[in-house]
């Protein structure tokens, strides 16, 4: 294990998750391979927030799960402070899970309706520290409630007595009760009202600074990620299209897909929205993941298509400023917003 403070806590190297499914009749069985995550690499520094953005089916949630060992990767390495998590035995992995936690998308469905808020938050403590005494656990639980902006006297309430935003606060308290070093949030606000989304984003941002967490924030919308991320990775069909520092990415995206995602976010300004040209939006749907396009996976929807894009797969490469992009034309295109 490295003692260098600036060394990445998490290094993901060429991670791939493939699912196989069988189709066809009994006699003509066909095996199809879906490459949900197909060769993703990135580093995450201590206290840093990486936003991962992509449409449904881009593989962003599968990537999050693969990092935590919740799905088995097909190839690649997940180095957590130097240890390769993909090589660990199940009970070694279980010990590591104390250090890395996840917050799920649906705040209500991910809480057990028959447990009180207090029991939900305390459960990880009982699991990992069974010898802890009741008073200590309760004290810690009340502290967590307060930390996420709930009242300590709500400890005995059940999930149905809370609103969606409050349930997500409980989910966050539960994930932080073990003092993890890494928190992965898988679309933590997409099931919430706009007015409540901001509360949760601001809470996560606060907690991250206070606790020095490394954070991975998965979302389908670039506008939300912007407020919380230091760097952003844009995924499409299991691949990384661009990894860039936040300010640069939002000012001048390097990949046409990133630009298309930005352009489709609606702005609360009717005059501007009415004047929008339809061609600034992305056309069509994502192709079938069983049969991805040859060459660049984005080429059939890309407005900047050239011949080369249909033949060669663009590698994710590092530009002079340190940002990463997988587009043949990154240098020549000016995609400034």
């Amino acid at each position: 294990m490295s003692t260098d403070v600036s060394a990445p806590v998490l290094r993901v190297q060429d991670l791939a998750v493939h699912f196989t499914s069988e189709s066809g009749s009994f006699l003509h069985r066909k095996e199809r391979v879906l490459k949900a995550v197909d060769g993703i690499s990135f580093d995450l520094n201590p206290g840093e927030t990486l936003g991962i953005v992509g449409e449904s089916g881009s593989g962003k949630s599968t990537l999050a799960r693969a990092i935590l060992g919740l799905v088995k990767p097909h190839r690649g390495r997940v180095l957590w402070m130097g240890d390769d998590l993909t090589k660990l035995e199940p009970d070694q992995m279980r010990q590591k899970r104390k250090e890395m936690q996840i917050v799920f998308q649906d705040p209500i469905a991910s809480l057990n309706p028959r447990m009180t808020a207090g029991a939900i938050i305390a459960e990880p403590l009982w699991t990992f520290y069974p010898q802890m005494d009741r008073v200590q656990v309760e004290e810690r639980t009340r502290g967590m409630l307060k930390m996420v902006g709930l009242l300590p006297n709500q400890i005995n309430r059940y999930p149905h007595e809370f609103s969606g935003g409050q349930c997500q606060r409980i989910g966050i308290a539960r994930s932080l009760v073990l003092n993890p070093k890494l928190l992965i949030c898988d679309e933590p606000v997409s099931a919430l009202d706009v007015s409540i989304q901001a509360q949760i984003i601001n809470l996560l941002k606060d907690l991250q600074q206070k606790l020095g967490l490394a954070l991975i924030f998965v979302a389908h919308d670039l506008s939300i990620v912007r407020h919380i991320s230091d760097r952003v990775m844009v995924m499409y069909m299991g691949r990384s299209m661009e990894v860039a520092e936040k300010t640069a990415l939002y000012r001048r995206p390097l990949h046409p897909y990133t630009r298309a995602l930005m352009k489709s976010v609606p702005v609360p300004d009717p005059r501007r929205e009415r004047g929008l040209q339809q061609d600034s939006w992305l056309k069509g749907d994502m192709p079938s993941p069983y049969n991805p396009p040859k060459g660049c996976v984005f080429h059939n929807r890309c407005p900047y298509l050239v011949k080369r894009c249909q033949a060669d797969v663009p590698a994710l490469r590092r530009l002079e400023n340190g940002d990463w992009v997988a587009c043949h034309r990154a240098e020549e295109l000016d995609l400034s917003i």
Binding site: E55, S56, Q197, N202, P266, P268, P270, L276
Partner: protein, 331 residues
Amino acid sequence: MALLNVKNLRVRFDTPEGDVHAVNGIDFHVNQGETLAIVGESGSGKSQLVMAIMGLLAENGEAEGVAEFRDVDLMQLSSHDLNKVRGREIAMIFQDPMTSLNPFLTIEQQMTEVVMHHQKLGKREAHQHAVEMLRAVRIPDPEERIRQYPHEYSGGMRQRVMIAMGLLCEPDLLIADEPTTALDVTVQAQITHLIGELRDKTQMAIILITHDLAVVAGICDRIVVMYAGKMVECGTVDEIFYEPQHPYTRGLLASVPRLDRDAEMDLHAIPGNPPNLLSLPTGCSFRDRCVEAQEACRQVPPLWRDEKGHMSRCVNKIPGGQIVDDQGEPA
């Protein structure tokens, strides 16, 4: 001339915990060819409001008030008579395209059923009509794809099918309840644009229900903002976005994360949570979360209306406003 005129509509649910007051007296109208957005958080009553108009409330729900569609009060119709209006004159699209289609039937079976029932078309004509509709919502190869099952369609395509089904009988009013909330942003932009385009082509009126003001900015004419079952502000789209009067509307606008502005500051959040509909606070329902709350907010706030028709329900007077009753008549 108003196509739909809703007066003092109330919806109440009888639950084991007591009466839930979902809609507490709301008045609004929609004109021919107009797009009205109804905006509010979960629990604001925006969906139950249209469910009541369509006669689709859950069994423990009870609605009162008037909903005049042309000259007929929908609230007084028997379910048999309402069935003739629903689907034919008023169509509805729901939020979740994944669960709104029957997984056991092909798209063709689901689409032709509607026109064969309402317009008494034969099978072949119905098929033709359905294919045309799919083409209108830009489903590629509609002749081929109409034979497929819902699981063979992506989320965005399923919502297009829902829209096509809604438009099959050329309704005069289309009600869309959060039609893009379950979709990706890229698809959301396509679908909202499509709805606007179809409206321009057909001159139908649209009621769009949403929790996100930004989504409706480009396509609606007027907006009703709801909070705790009441209308708190109502005006043209430009009035609501550029001169919002009610603190709740201002909060909603400020909480939209914007890509067209700098993002170094914290996101603005409306503090607190939506009120408990079992026991609404007296006076203004928003006062617990309002940054401008004052002593006077413990009283029922008045409704202000300016000469152009912009209305706000708040202790704060709006410029050029006078106090009116819920129907907008001077009190």
